[in-house]
Amino acid sequence: MDLPGWSEILFTIGLTVAIAFPLGFYLARVWKGESTWLDPVLRPVEGVLYKAFGVEREKSQNWFAYTISMLAFSIASFVVLYLILRFQDLLPLNPQGFKGLTPDLSFNTAISFVTNTNWQSYTPEQTVSTFSQMAGLTSHNFLSAAAGIAMAAAVARAFAANRGEGLGNFWVDLTRISLYVLLPVAIVVALVFVALGEPQTLSASAAAVGLEGGKQTIALYPTASQEAIKQFGTNGGGIFNANSAHPFENPNAITNLIEIVLMNTLSLACVVAFGRLVVARKEARALLVTMVILVTAGAAAIYWTETQPAPAMHAVHASTAVNMEGKEVRFGAPSTAVWAATTTGASDGGVNGMHDSFMPLGGAVTMFLIQLGEILPGGVGSGLYGMVVMALIAVFVAGLMVGRTPEYLGKKIEAREVKFAMLAVLILPLSILGFAAVAAVLPVALKSLANSGPHGLSEILYAYSSATGNNGSAFAGLSANTPFWNSTLGIAMLLGRFAYVVPVLAMAGSIAAKPKLEPSTGTLPTHGPLFISLLIGVILIMGGLQFFPAQALGPIVEHFQVLAAVAGH
C-alpha cells in the first residue's frame, strides 16, 4: 500500500460523487418532465414514440398499473432478446458465423440482461455475433437501466405525494430516461473511449503474424459503444470474456478512471434526484454519505488484502507482496481494489481483475458488498429504492427503541410498509442461501467448480449472491454454462429483480396514499450523523447476521489457511 494507491482510490470516489450532483439535478428535471437543453432535438422524438406506443404523456399510473407496465415491458424485452440470441445464425451481421445459443443459455442470458444483472455463462468472443452484441445486449444495457431508474422515480414520487395515487407513467419514464440521460452520455463517452483506444468496428476479427512468427486471430466488436452504456447503466456484461480486464474494453488508466466513475455516478445521482423530488435534500445527502462511506471502506479493505503476501508467491520468494494473479500490470492493486468495491457495491458486475484469484478476504469483501443488498450505491435506480427500504427499516427499529410511530420524509411508517420492506429484503437470503445450499450437495452442480475446499464453496456462494443481487460478476472459475447453473441462476436473477421490486412498488403505493406530515418535535431526524450511524448499523447487522455463517465456511476458513501457508515458509 502506498500514497499514490490511496490517492487513486480517494480521487476516483471523490470524482464520482462530484459528478453525481449536477447529474442528479439534471435527472430530477427529467423525472419531473421539465424542460432541458436537449428538448429541441428530443421532444419531437418523444412525441413520435408515445404516439407509436399508444400512451398519453400526462396519464399517471397507480402503483399497480405502473408495476404491470414494468412487468409487461420486461416480458416483451425478454422474449425479443431470447429470440435474437437463440436465432442469431439467421440474423444479419454475424461475420463470425456463430450458431444460435442453446435454449438454456439463451434463457439465462436474456434474463440476465433484462434484469440488469449481466451474468455471463459464456465466452462472448466465441459465442455471440456482432448483431447480438448490438441489438441484443447493447440495447438491453440501456433498457434494463432505464427500467430501474423509472422504478426509482416512482418510489420518489410516492414520498413526494400527499394523499396521492399516481406514481408517474412507466412508458414516459422509460423513454425519457433512455433519451435524455443514458443516450447522450453514452454517445459522448463512446467517442472518448474510441479515441482512447477501444475498438469500434463491424469486422469480426483481424489476422496478425507476430514478430516471432506466431499467428493470432484478434477478435473485434463495436466495443466502445457497448462499453459506455455497460458502465453507465451499471450493467457490467463484458463484450469480451475478460470484461474490463481486457485491454480492448479498458486500455489504460484514463479509461479505467472513466469506467469506475460511470458505474457509480448515476446510482448516486438517483439519490440526489430523489432529494430534489421529495424536497428532502439533507435526508438524501445522508443516504449518499452512507453509500460512499461503505463503498470506500470496501475499497480500502480490498486494497489491503491484495497487498498481503500471496502464499504461492511467498513460497518462491517473489519481490513484493502484491497479489498479481488475475490482475493487469497497468492497473495493479489500487485500481483493481477500487474497481472491485465499486462494481460489487453498485451491482455493475464488470471486473478489471479476476475476483476468483483475490486473496480470501478480498473475495469476501466483494461478496459481502453484494450481499448487503446492492445499495452501496447499488444499481441505477435499484440502489436508491434498496437504500430507501433500508432507511425505513432503520427508522422502524429506532421507533421501536423509543416507542414512537416511525416517520420517514413526512410519511408515517406503519406495519404494512414494514411488512413489504421485509418481504423485499428477505428475498436475498432466501435465494442466495437456499440455492447455494442445494448446489453445495448436488454432484451435477459441483462438477462445475474450478477450485475445491472452502474456495469451491466461495465460488458457489458468490454465483448466487451475484445473480440474486443482479450484480453479474463471478468467481469465474465456475463453469456455469450447464443446464443446472443456467436455470437456477436465471431463477435467482428473476427473484432478485422482480420479487424484490414488486413489494417495493406496493410499499410505494401505500406511502403515496398517506398524508404528508410536517415534522414534529417527536420526529427522529433522518439526516444527521446519528441517523447515518444507525443506517450503517442496520445495513451491516442485517447483512452480517444473514450471511456471516456462510462466509465463515468459505472465505474466512480460507483466510486462516492462507495465514498458515504463509507462516509455514
Binding site: A195, D356, A476
Partner: protein, 197 residues
C-alpha cells in the same frame, strides 16, 4: 393490463432499433472517420504493411533477444485473443503453486538474477496484458543484450524510454508495452542486418 401489450411490444422494437442499431452504427461511422487506427483494434504493421499484432494485446515472445510478456491463461496455449481470461486459481490452488514454482525457476535460470517481480510469474486477468512492470523489463535487459550482441546499456536505454508512468503520478501503475519495445529493439539494435525489401 391488455392496454400494456401494445406499448410493451412497440417500445421494445423501436427502442432496440434506436439504441441497439442506430446508436452503435452511428458511433462506428464516426469512429471510422475520426479514429480509424483505434477503431480497428490498434493494429501495428511492419514496414511491409503486414499486421504484426495489436499494440493493446500481448503476443507470445520466447526468444532470448525479445522482451518476454507475462504468462497467459488465455486459451489452451495462452495469448489467444479469441479466448480472453485469467487462470481463476484461488490463492491456495495447488495448480497455481506448481505453475509459479516452475516459472520462477525458469526465470531465475534465464535472467541469471534472483529477484522475481510479481507480474513475471502470474497470469493477468485478461491473459492479454500487453504490459510488464519496469522491474520485470529491466531484469531481461542483460539477456536481450547478450542475444543481440550489443552492450546492455544500449538495450536498457530503449527499455527505459518505453516506461510509461502513472497518469498524474497516481492513476494506474508504471508499465512497459512489450510489443512496442520489441519493435523498437528490432529497429535500433537489430540482431542481424535488416533484410533488403
Amino acid at each position: 393490463m391488455l392496454s400494456d401489450i401494445r406499448p410493451a411490444i412497440v417500445s421494445t422494437v423501436l427502442l432496440t432499433a434506436l439504441l441497439g442499431v442506430a446508436y452503435p452504427l452511428a458511433i462506428t461511422g464516426v469512429a471510422k472517420v475520426a479514429f480509424p487506427f483505434q477503431a480497428e483494434g490498434s493494429l501495428v504493421k511492419d514496414p511491409h504493411g503486414r499486421v504484426v499484432g495489436s499494440a493493446l494485446l500481448a503476443q507470445p515472445f520466447a526468444k532470448d533477444e525479445y522482451l518476454h510478456p507475462r504468462p497467459s491463461a488465455a486459451g489452451s496455449n495462452g495469448y489467444d485473443p479469441t479466448s480472453s481470461g485469467g487462470s481463476n486459481y484461488g490463492p491456495l490452488s495447488a495448480d497455481l503453486a506448481k505453475r509459479v514454482t516452475s516459472d520462477a525457476a525458469a526465470l531465475r535460470a534465464s535472467t541469471g538474477h534472483q529477484q522475481i517481480p510479481d507480474d513475471a510469474i502470474t497470469t493477468s486477468g485478461s491473459g492479454l496484458d500487453p504490459d510488464i512492470s519496469p522491474a520485470y523489463a529491466l531484469l531481461q535487459v542483460d539477456r536481450i543484450a547478450k542475444a543481440r550482441g550489443v552492450p546492455a546499456g544500449q538495450v536498457g536505454k530503449i527499455v527505459a524510454a518505453h516506461v510509461e508512468s502513472p497518469v498524474l503520478g497516481f492513476l494506474g501503475q508504471p508499465h512497459v508495452n512489450v510489443l512496442m519495445t520489441n519493435r523498437a529493439l528490432n529497429v535500433i539494435v537489430p540482431k542481424s542486418p535488416p533484410k533488403a525489401s
